[in-house]
Symmetry: C2
Subunit: 337 residues, 2 copies
């Protein structure tokens, strides 16, 4: 593994090859300054034939920006962070901006190390993200010298924040169930302590009105089973649809229903939340669920930090991005055009 001593070609070499000064070369390559088209293209040709690539550190030192942003997250599992990261990266890559991924594991000390490292490296901005919309990361990101955008995590009130619109997603789920003719829709969801749980439940109640029923539990398949046992253990008329707080619960519900001989979607329609592929697609039948559009959220976060970094003013506050119904087979029905 010896590294060939291929000297990097500097702008100096390009200038020399093109027979101009370094200053002119710089201007030619950056499409700034004034010069004959001939000179400009001669320099550009020299550059490309030499394979010149500008040293980002030298350039950054002057321009005081690094074409780099940091993505801070405590979502070790990556379930939420990964699509978000993909979106961020996608929005930034053609601007030449790279992304530092910093996993901080809820450890304030680690978080500080990462933030300091990013600051030292002169990141143009930071995107803070997490696994819960209603929790802050264990680090103070205010007064940083670089702009911060909060995505899928709680930030200060005067910050720029991006979250998925849980209420809207919940509305889509219920609406779909109703459009399929379902009348007795129960909501089986996670712990009351999650803001998104209450947000989704609230929207569910608002859509259903009279007869709304919410069962709170944990974010597990296990709870899906228990909820079904509870509902089907009652004397009352059974639900004909169950809207679940996430895909794991939904999978538990579907499995439990099948084990009881209840047909899904024949007798009961089930909707999940998250569109976590590994869970939703493996369920029998595959889950119709709500996708939070995390990738789009990431893209938007990327665009916003960049705008902020460029000095543009961005209205602070919480932006809610719409969710999207993903139709598979657990409800019956076919995708709307």
């Amino acid at each position: 593994m010896s590294v060939l001593p291929t000297k990097r070609v500097r702008i100096y070499d390009v200038a020399q090859a093109a027979g101009v000064s370094v200053a002119t070369a710089s201007k030619a390559l950056n499409d700034t300054g004034r010069m004959t088209d001939e000179t400009r293209s001669r320099v550009k040709e020299a550059a490309s034939s030499l394979g010149f690539r500008p040293n980002a550190m030298a350039r950054g030192l002057i321009q005081r920006r690094s074409f780099t942003v940091g993505l801070l997250t405590n979502d070790t599992y990556g379930r939420f962070t990964l699509p978000l990261m993909a979106g961020v990266s996608e929005a930034l890559v053609d601007q030449g901006v790279s992304v530092f991924l910093c996993a901080i594991e809820d450890d304030p000390a680690l978080a500080k190390i990462h933030v300091d490292a990013m600051l030292d490296k002169q990141v143009d901005g930071i995107i803070a993200s997490g696994k819960r919309i209603d929790r802050q990361l264990p680090v103070d990101l205010t007064n940083l010298s670089v702009p911060v955008v909060y995505a899928f995590t709680k930030g200060p009130d005067d910050a720029v924040s991006l979250v998925s619109d849980d209420a809207e997603g919940s509305g889509e789920a219920v609406e779909w169930l109703q459009s399929l003719g379902r009348q007795r829709i129960v909501h089986v969801t996670g712990p009351k302590t999650f803001a998104s749980v209450e947000e989704r439940a609230g929207a569910y109640r608002a859509s259903i009105g009279e007869g709304a029923r919410v069962l709170y539990g944990t974010w597990s398949e296990q709870w899906g089973h228990e909820a079904v046992a509870q509902l089907w253990g009652e004397a009352a008329e059974k639900p004909d649809a169950i809207f679940c707080g996430n895909d794991q619960i939904a999978r538990g519900v579907v499995d439990a229903l099948r084990e009881r001989g209840v047909a899904v979607p024949g007798d009961v329609s089930v909707v999940g939340f998250d569109n976590w592929e590994i869970v939703a697609a493996a369920t029998r039948p595959p889950l119709t669920t709500i996708d939070m559009n995390l990738k789009e959220l990431g893209r938007e976060a990327g665009r916003l930090v960049l705008a902020l970094a460029a000095g543009e003013t961005v209205e602070p506050g919480i932006r809610k991005l719409p969710c999207q119904l993903v139709i598979r087979q657990s409800c019956g029905g076919v995708p709307r055009s």
Copy 2:
């Protein structure tokens, strides 16, 4: 969202505050050069009281290194990349090295853009990783000017590569099953076209000897169900253990067995592969499985790329890192001390 114009404090300010020259300040802070302890600590105090943080770009420009490495991956799902990334990051964070995450989605053009961007940013090294041990990334990383380490993806023969030891993991699984007294162990795995499938199957056959039986299929729960249908549909004596090629197959197998009234682990023990938490822990009963120690693999990759960057010589070739049996409940038995 206005950015306060907090001027960054430069080493110049520290020097002035401590009443020394910039050169001395630099030496004091980097613990290089010679000077009285008094001077050194006076400078350090000045630095910390001013909240001085060196500008990494300026430093990098001189030292020709950026304290940054790039992690290239085509594993969009993150199932393999995330633990790996966590390991890389963990190994590097206290060396002050940050990680660029570049998701390239099997797109050669995108890959090139990312590689170029990393090179422009003077990364100290690149770690190439993927979702398959036997496939190369769609980009040529040879002759780069920075060291490259391949982790969980195929690299050139003379490169430094890190993979999990599939054969060893397979051996651990079979050994565990045998130590539990299982006699008729069948291997249900993925497509023959995966090198890791053949590697695991080969080791399985070697351990079992006479009576080994391998069923190839797809990496899905669905296939787990089908395999059980096939095995239990035969007249022959049933297996008393099934070693699966991954956790999804194992979950399918366990579910299918339960649906047939076969007790797991009472009648049949099941072992998975991957230790993908969301699958392994949600299976009823939770899966005993083989963990590929991807995080450790990431740590090692981080260490190696840094060593290479520091000019150390690292023996090229493929390093196989051991897997680890994770005992849950699908086999019976209790963890060995």
